[in-house]
Symmetry: D2
Subunit: 429 residues, 4 copies
């Protein structure tokens, strides 16, 4: 066999392997560390309940876990490269302080168990945050639908001016979108709310673990009953959580598209708050909507993360190290996605319409549909109604956009009636 | 300007454009035609309720729509290239039979309205089918968990033999997976169960449409209140339905992986029913698990469809023709995915274990974890327990897989107790 | 075991399985049939060369294969559900006409061999078509860059008016984009131009097949040497071909975005040829750019297809039936993608600028960058130059867009010089 | 308007926006910093060539840029949160040391210009590394094909034992795979090897920039001629580079699948080097192939990155801030992917076969194909040959795997002849 470059390097090969195996686990585990501590305590309590840990051992473990949680929250405990990952850090600390008692907390649980339960707790919290963020966006949109009312806005199809719409209709659409997204976040939160702790390496253990206790202590609404399924749900639950997040960001992508167009010189329908644009030292009148563009781009991060995880899950049952790679994209997508959504309520609240430009964009042809329906509703034969409207597009109210909107106060038009329905749904979430 | 090749072709350019615009709409619309008819009837009733259609007009429309629905169901009406799409076919028929009355059914609704509501009804049915298919798979798996019980099966991690598992644990995992999938299908069905009909081109109409009637007549549990949101939900709801389908097929991918490995000569744990394999004229003993492989591959169809739709949805609000391309991947994915899932119950029901191979694969080392836990639970210092177990891996019951499984009748082990929990959840779906 | 619904259905279960196994193979194989015939002839010749087929057998096979190819080209032979797939159709025909000689053509080749070589020939042709389509688009764009010259067009960043650009700069960008795409299609065509025929089931055969002959007869530039690699390249080569196609359609997506915006009332920079828009019976002035929107959406089809295939390729080496599912997305994507690209040259050739709207959109502030550079180049301290330009944005040529463009005839500005470089590259492709 | 939570927070809103805008730019720019410095120097030289910078200014800039490059390489200059991004860091340094001269380097170039050219230089280097890594893997595989020769290995189809293969055939497959991948990396490197510097904000500048100089100084083989195309190529070139990387990792995914299966107790064909596995404190005989699994999973990172970028590129022409998000996935994918590939040569070099297990897995039925071909080649009617072989599968050489492989020394079988062809191709890369 030929002598190759790396053969000279001896030890370095090993380092490369170790570094590759570790990846960015330590960095990622910062997002999970508090959950790991909580779940460790619950597991210890369960062991105490079935007599594996003595009362004094339990008390000692509780004290140390509580202390570590406090140090972590206060920033005085730092998770860094001294540890392989978050789990090792907890173990190292407990053993350092408690010796063999520190090790006994691992009785009947595996590293996979720990990752699963910490990630599950993270997912639950992330979805709860998503839920409240979507509700907040919907609330702002509803508030502005009320406030901005029947201010005329061109209704586009194919990006061509089609019929008269209004600021209220536009706001109501986003309100309903984010009500649905909030609902989805809540549904998904319930769907993943199952306790995997106690499944060990995926095949149970020869101990009557008190899973009822850990389920209750960690606030789960149900257990994952089949140990082997707990492993199978890794990645699966992450994907569904990302699907919920993705919907909120897909809506944001479309909302940001509207804002980007409306803020252009050509449309000119809105002015963005100054903090949300970046200026140009050269062109004082130019305000670039950088933030709106990054909000639009944010869905891509989640879409990429979904594919990254989905590609991993072509595996037989049982744990495979491949699954470790589901952690980074999950955390990256939620961290980025929730940061993006957090900026939206204020942006929407403070965005300003430019009524004169909006009214100027309402052309006579945009009343033709109203006219045709008016005629047809009045008994004119359908085909004739459309021929007449094409020739003379003005309905009885003429080219009065406000009158047109008033006439169209009907279901689906974003009138006060429907805003009430939306508000009731939002309040019920 | 230079003379180019196609300029000679004159009329053919137009044909190419028309063909490109039409795509495979007619083929796709076959899946939606019955829904379009139902929604057309509900819309007509709504128009009659608000006085746009006279009673005699309504009666005539109802008669023709019913007749067409019956002909369609019976196969005597064929949707083919004579029509641009399904909507045109309905219109052509109604106008042919009823003249201007046939046209009046379109008062206050747009083509987009029609596509939206027909697709929504399709989604609801497709998710209901997915729900029942997942329940059926879960039922078969639970039945076999009961029947096959504590038959030992190696429990793998990293595809390495790790600890003793059982047929029941394996079956219980798939049962719980498909219970979750059934739950998700139901949740998603509820989430999309909103009536878009009445939103016209996305900006409402100047008619007080009876949306409460169409909502009730079509069995929707709520309206999409904001007309502009109805358009925004196109693609969005499709994606979420595909996400639910995707989960069932991701689980199938992993299940099929197990079957593919277990059916190999090297593992040899199962025999597949003969119909699910294809033979070789040359090697009588070779049975290729083609069907299992195609089931494994089926998730890819859904994953592709999701991306196809997701890529479209980078658009401002309002209708854009891009959205037409959301139809084909949706229909393709559900048609394929539900066909795949429909084959699973019988396959699982009739798959046979090869107990001797399973027992032969249980090696002494696989008892070491049990031994260590036994020692640690008995008070041996943790580290000593593991050192002892590594040296002598045999727990008190020795290398008796059945005894090992019996001892491990604890939460998470797939015991009778947990099967009851799963059965109760399944029954409650 | 419980009695389940489908057990009553007996034979029908088998039919479902057979239907699932077949999928739409027959439909898909229509795109590959001519290639399969060509490759079958080459294989037969190779067998004759090594003495496996006698001269009279070879003559008979050649006669029948030629006849079938002619019937296929003429439309008198139809590939339909009488056959399992295209390969079976060829075999059935040869055996019907030639008996055992018809069967002998399969000596030393497998079904997988046939699929591989037919798909490879298809890929090569599809990439050649892509190459020439991209060249044609580039040629039209270059021609229009010449013809439309320095017509001013606002240059946008962040969709905000930034500096003066020109029609020529815009056209030159698309010309260079499609020159790169043509280059990529050619590179990719060379990369996949390897003969897989002769690899049998992936492990070679005990015959000295004349692979040099089939390679030469089918016009391949090299063999796939390792039999096992021929199988590994299935899907792999398809993905790379789709990546090349994807680039041409990503550029089309961005081009269509420009056209969609420019055709809006707000921008108003272009008029699309009437055939490329669809009218509205109600609003005579409204021309919806449906086709442009479908061109924009076309990339999604290719993106979906890539993912569909990529998801399949998580497999050990060797043939697996999963790979069959790589066929449909490949054919769908190329069929759709090439249809879309075929419409582009005529659309671009006949699109018309609206110079008055373009000139009207050039605002004084858009000259500020030119002014600052003018000052800085003249020795004014950098910071002062920018402060001065922000106050008074007018360069020496004032608010004269044409003069601004003339001054900017420099590398990168789309001047005649660079068009010559692009033309030379295009001619060399 | 209602009072909302964040309104109390005042200034903090701004910080959140700034943080969101910055993202992880500083971290990402570390990978690009050296390239930015090189390109800055080339740009300055170009400005000097056309008289914008005086000789003394040029000398001062060169001195500072060289000094900064050395400090960066030595680690004494740190890129951290003091700077917005890498570009700002360079500017800050130059202005600090040189005042207005430091600013003058920006004459005629934009921030986008800088990102584009630095990323392009990075891409070129990354593809060169990919090229050499693929060559190295191919070289190791070829070396082992020579060394391990005709050691019998079951050839699988559908994961069922089919015919006799050999270690050499298996190695040759991977060699040819990575030769193709190396070729693709080289082709792609040439395709992206175009200089974008000089395109300013995408519309050129009113200066006759010396683009020929920067092209030559930075070693590009061509310019991007059209300024507007330089912006359009952002993301586009990244995607193609990722496609090349993806192919190398897709092959690695399949290679790792083989290794994972072969290392299982059930197959037992290989022993992995100890450093590439992780042990279990409990089961001394268990060696988990963690690294092989992470190599298998690595393709997912690239697949996710591709989608992330692809999702961004639904935009009109011109720069949009969305494009900033193409940086992180590109760097993440190449960093991870190249790290993964770097581990492969040593792994393959030191992996050991277990000949006895390989030979034991060769069953009599696996000779049936050889037998049938032997009979058919000898003139036995085709159908009879197959019937005979099915009954008695033994060819003339009996159940001697080595003899079988010897007989199959034919094109495609991985014989010495073909290894020569592969070696010649590899040497020519």
């Amino acid at each position: 066999m030929s002598t190759l470059l790396w053969q000279k390097e001896g030890v370095r090969v090993d380092e490369r392997i170790q570094r590759f195996l570790a990846g960015n686990d330590i960095g990622d585990d910062r997002a999970l560390f508090a959950y790991d501590l909580r779940a460790s305590l619950a597991h210890a309590e369960g062991l105490a309940n079935i007599g594996i840990l003595r009362a004094d051992e339990m008390a000692a473990l509780r004290k140390e876990l509580d202390a570590l949680a406090q140090e972590w929250a206060a920033g005085s405990f730092v998770l860094d490269d001294r540890y392989e990952d978050g789990h090792s850090a907890i173990e190292a600390r407990l053993v350092e302080r408690l010796g063999d008692t520190g090790r006994r907390i691992h009785t009947g649980r595996s590293r996979n168990d720990q990752v699963l339960v910490a990630t599950r707790l993270y997912l639950r919290d992330a979805l709860a945050t998503l839920h409240s963020q979507c509700k907040l966006i919907a609330a702002v949109a509803l508030g502005r639908a009320d406030a901005d009312g029947a201010l005329p806005l061109p209704g586009y199809t194919h990006l061509q001016r089609a019929v008269v719409s209004s600021a209220a209709m536009w706001w109501a659409a986003w309100a309903e979108a984010y009500i649905d997204d909030a609902q989805l976040a809540a549904d998904t939160g319930r769907w993943v709310d199952a306790n995997p702790l106690g499944s060990a390496a995926g095949y149970g253990v020869n101990l009557a673990l008190d899973r009822a206790h850990t389920t209750q202590a960690l606030g789960f609404s149900r257990q994952q009953v089949a140990a082997t399924y707990a492993q199978l749900s890794r990645g699966k639950f992450e994907l569904q959580a990302l699907s919920a997040l993705s919907q909120a960001l897909l809506d944001l992508r479309r909302l940001a598209w509207d804002l980007s167009l409306y803020a252009s010189a050509e449309f000119g329908f809105i002015a963005l708050p100054a903090e949300y644009t970046t200026g140009s030292s050269l062109m004082p009148n130019k305000r670039n909507p950088d933030l709106v563009e990054l909000l639009r781009a944010s869905h891509a991060v989640v879409a990429g993360a979904r594919v990254e995880i989905e590609q991993l899950l072509s595996l037989p049952s049982g744990y495979h190290r491949d699954l470790q790679f589901s952690k980074a994209p999950l955390l990256r997508a939620f961290s980025h996605g929730l940061d993006a959504l957090a900026l939206v309520p204020d942006l929407l609240e403070r965005m300003q319409w430019r009524p004169e430009a909006m009214r100027a964009a309402v052309e006579p042809g945009m009343f033709a549909t109203d006219r045709a329906i008016e005629l047809a509703a009045g008994g004119v034969p359908f085909r004739d109604a459309y021929v007449l409207a094409a020739k003379d597009p003005l309905p009885s109210h003429g080219v009065d956009a406000d009158a047109s909107l008033a006439v169209r106060v009907s279901p689906g038009s974003g009138s006060n009636l429907e805003l009430g329905v939306l508000r009731a749904r939002l309040d019920g979430l």
